[in-house]
Amino acid sequence: MSREILQVSGLSMRFGGLLAVNGVALSVKEKQVVALIGPNGAGKTTVFNCLTGFYKPSGGSILLDGQPIQGLAGHEIARKGVVRTFQNVRLFKEMTALENLLIAQHRHLNTNFFAGLFKTPGFRRSEHEAMEYAQYWLEKVDLVEFANRNAGTLAYGQQRRLEIARCMMTRPRILMLDEPAAGLNPKETEDLKALIGTLREEHGVTVLLIEHDMKLVMSISDHIVVINQGTPLADGTPQQIRDNPEVIKAYLGEA
């Protein structure tokens, strides 16, 4: 199919005497949707934190387009196009939805001090483009009417959508969603599924997600990786995972 964008091998993370992640390997192809599943405390979020630079992994290698990125700072990895959401929504609550989206475009804006001070044409243009792009995504996630509402006052499902839109502002290549469907009702989960589909089809984004909603995972993933107690248990297509006796024993449960 397409080429590999992210290759993780032998990833391990040690906190003192606790080996939270041990030898996890991932291989993500461009425009794929890859899911990371496993019981609570299996180390899924730790893997995310390692990939996005919030933790420095104790061992293993992470290659983005063949370039090693392990050990880089969080914002440096984000600038390379690996952007994530959080298990508990992390919006800028006291700022409006629109401002949330503008901040995420910081790197693409004219940040020259004097340009901003005197509102040069270049500065105006860059601000205008940012607004346009923000509006485009507000429409996509159906939040236009809430553009000027403080993010903290939005309903939970809306906050989740805004967080994804905010990630898209940074023009990511890999979007990492940490339990995006947690706390959503069935209708919102359907919408999320459609949104992830659009991200992949129209915007060419590769999606890596952690999720407990098996219906969602099985229906959108191209590839699933299961970890249990920090170690990889299985990986394969949704069908292979569903039929894997070890996965059923450790996580899915007997039907």
Binding site: T52, G53, F54, A73, G74, H75, A78, R79, V83, R84, F86, R90, L91, F92, K93, E94, M95, T96, L98, E99, L102, I103, A104, H106, R107, L109, N110, T111, F113, G116, L117, K119, M131, E132, Q135, L138, V144, A147, N148, N150, R166, C167, M169, T170
Partner: protein, 418 residues
């Protein structure tokens, strides 16, 4: 009931314990020793009345709160008015109105009034600068006065040793203070909240102690005196000009009047304050201003979006300090004298109080708070002994009634194309 009675009794006792040493005793100097006297019957009766009131208040606590609850709960200001006042556009008009008043002020006010207004403007500048660090970036800085001192001493030293003029030193002082802000920024990057406050507090004190103990360079506790005032395009406002300078009154052929100097200083302060207002107002609407606020809200989310927290924090510290430097060099020029004692912790506390009182992040709030904080003590000179008591009372009342500050500002409403 008996429990109520007990706590009421202790509350009344507490009033005595607090009020009696503060209000009921008087120190007087007899020869070379201090003697403690009781105050007159008036002060004592005030304390008695207060403690009785406190006793009744606590005794009938339930009835009191029931009464308060049943009373019509009209807010101090109706929500509509309050909403109107916090709109960014309204605040802009109020600021413009204030600027108009400030421009004509010196030509109608008395000499003393202009002098106080100059002082207020210095604190407006400081408040606006600290507002960047505390109000926007959310970094609690208790050593802001250190940068103020750096600015003041930069001008004082440069003029003392090299004879440089105010206008040359102003940008240098700003840059010096900014450099110090940058240097302080580095070690405190990893700190937050209380820890940051303690370190910055220490930094402010270190600067003051340095200035005090570098006697050879800074004159130690005596400070540096005879600092020249700013000139108006090379024209001096003194009665007799220094060598190689002309005086303002000779050049324009008017009678010498010392009030001209006061008015000129006021106008310089106004110019600097307006400059600060303009620059910071623009900064708020620039990507960096938004990034400061985002950092205050959630640093981890900032990192996840590719914003470099290090640079954002450092820029807040540096720019905030820069404005303190400007204010400091003007302060040195106005006083004509700088000593380390002008830069004690209480100054930091006043500036911080201005920011908090004004409503974090709101520029109009900072301006109003600066007026209140400087004007009140001046108006109540007769009660100067109780100044700190009043500060405390003001702060407590603010926390109860308007925890968001005098005049907070709503988020700017940005129009989207339909």
């Amino acid at each position: 009931m008996s429990r109520n009675l007990k706590s009421a009794f202790f509350s009344a006792l507490l009033v005595w314990a607090v009020a009696f040493p503060v209000l009921g005793l008087k120190l007087s100097i007899v020869g070379i020793s201090l003697q403690v006297h009781g105050q007159g019957p008036l002060a004592l009766s005030v304390i008695v009345v207060c403690s009785v009131l406190m006793f009744l208040r606590v005794l009938f606590d339930k009835q009191w709160s029931a009464m308060m609850r049943s009373a019509p709960r009209g807010a101090l200001i109706s929500p509509k008015v309050s909403n109107f006042l916090t709109l960014p556009r309204t605040q802009r008009y109020i600021i413009l109105g204030l600027i108009a008043v400030a421009l004509v002020w010196p030509f109608f006010g008395s000499r003393g009034a202009v002098d106080i207004a100059t002082l207020i403007l210095i604190y407006v500048m400081l408040g606006l600068g600290l507002n960047i660090v505390v109000g926007l970036a959310g970094l609690l800085d208790l050593g802001y006065v250190g940068f103020y001192a750096v600015g003041a001493y930069s001008y004082a030293l440069l003029s003392h040793y090299f004879g440089l003029s105010f206008w040359v030193c102003l940008p240098i002082a700003g840059m010096m203070a900014a450099t110090f802000g940058f240097l302080l920024g580095f070690p405190v990057l990893r700190l937050r909240g209380d820890y940051l406050a303690i370190v910055t507090l220490g930094f402010g004190e270190i600067i003051r102690l340095f200035l005090r103990n570098l006697t050879d360079l800074t004159g130690g506790p005596n400070g540096i005196s005879n600092i020249p005032k700013p000139s108006f395009f090379g024209l001096s406002f003194e009665r007799r000009a220094a060598e190689g300078m002309q005086t303002f009154h000779e050049f324009f052929g008017v009678e010498y009047n010392s009030i001209n100097k006061v008015i000129f200083l006021y106008l310089v302060a106004l110019l600097l304050a307006l400059l600060a207002l303009f620059v910071i107002n623009r900064l708020l609407r620039m990507p960096i201003g938004r990034a400061w606020e985002a950092l205050r809200e959630d640093e981890i989310a900032c990192r996840a979006l590719g914003l470099n927290p290090t640079i954002i924090k450092l820029s807040a510290f540096t720019l905030g300090a820069c404005f303190a430097g400007f204010a400091g060099s003007f302060f040195a020029a106005r006083q004509g004298l700088v000593t380390p004692e002008s830069f004690t912790f209480i100054e930091s506390a006043i500036i911080l109080a201005i920011v908090v009182l004004g409503g974090m992040g709101s520029q109009l709030g900072v301006i109003l708070a600066a007026i209140v904080m400087i004007l009140l003590p001046e108006l109540m000179r007769d009660f100067s002994e109780y100044r700190m008591l009043m500060f405390g009372a003001l702060m407590v009342l603010m926390m109860i009634w308007r925890p968001q500050g005098l005049l907070p500002m709503q988020r700017p409403h940005m129009e989207l194309r339909r």
